[in-house]
């Protein structure tokens, strides 16, 4: 086992833990913006996991998936923010 494999294994454990912590905040988060922030963090970590996966398996096509997921995550967050703001207006 070389150095990069060990680093990738350790990093995937850390990213899995990060998803779990963000998910706990998604379940608990007292207000709706808290949940949106936690969801945004989960998609960011998913982009990181895809970069890690394409590093581990040499399947660089997953990098394209990471680009698309980052775009979808941004659009989703902006849509949620617009919705929350419009809902608070009335």
């Amino acid at each position: 086992m070389n150095l990069l494999d060990g680093a990738v294994h350790l990093a995937s454990v850390m990213l899995a833990l990060a998803v779990v912590l963000a998910f706990i905040r998604l379940l608990r988060g007292p207000s709706l913006p808290d949940r949106v922030v936690a969801f945004d963090l989960m998609t960011s970590v998913a982009v990181g996991i895809m970069a890690l996966y394409s590093l581990a398996t040499e399947e660089t096509v997953f990098l394209d998936v990471a680009i698309v997921l980052a775009l979808i995550s941004f659009l989703g967050t902006v849509a949620f923010a617009r919705y929350l703001e419009q809902r608070g207006k009335k």
Binding site: L3, L10, M14, V19, P33, L55, T60, A81
Partner: protein, 125 residues
């Protein structure tokens, strides 16, 4: 030299990126109000994605397509994350989410028009 470039630097960058993302998740878990959580998640997670993409680029230096796509990921995330965070923060403020009780002062208080959501600068006269 080759080993340093294709193993040590990517391993270091991967571990750095994963640590920052874990730090972001711990911040989102433990910080007391939505703006603090948002600052933890936005800044650290963006930097973590940057490190991960740089690690991928460093381990595939012979493949220009992978390097360019990594740079695109970095550029895209670094441009969109602050915009998304600003929009959520603004929406949370306008919704009336209560700040942490230790907050010293609220500089936006009374500056937002409750009907139009326009922000006044305070220097209108």
């Amino acid at each position: 030299m080759e080993v340093i470039l294709t193993e040590w630097i990517p391993a270091l960058l991967v571990l750095m990126g994963a640590s920052f993302m874990l730090l972001a998740a711990i911040g989102v878990m433990r910080l007391p109000d939505v703006w603090m959580r948002m600052h933890a998640s936005t800044k650290s997670a963006t930097f973590g994605i940057g490190c991960m993409a740089l690690a991928l680029a460093a381990s595939h230096l012979h493949d220009l397509g992978v390097v360019m796509r990594s740079i695109i990921v970095i550029g895209f995330v670094f441009q969109t994350a602050p915009v998304a965070a600003h929009m959520i923060g603004r929406a949370a403020y306008l919704m009336g989410v209560t700040p942490w009780r230790g907050t010293m002062r609220d500089e936006l208080e009374g500056r937002y028009d409750p009907d139009t959501h326009n922000l006044a600068s305070g220097n209108e006269h």
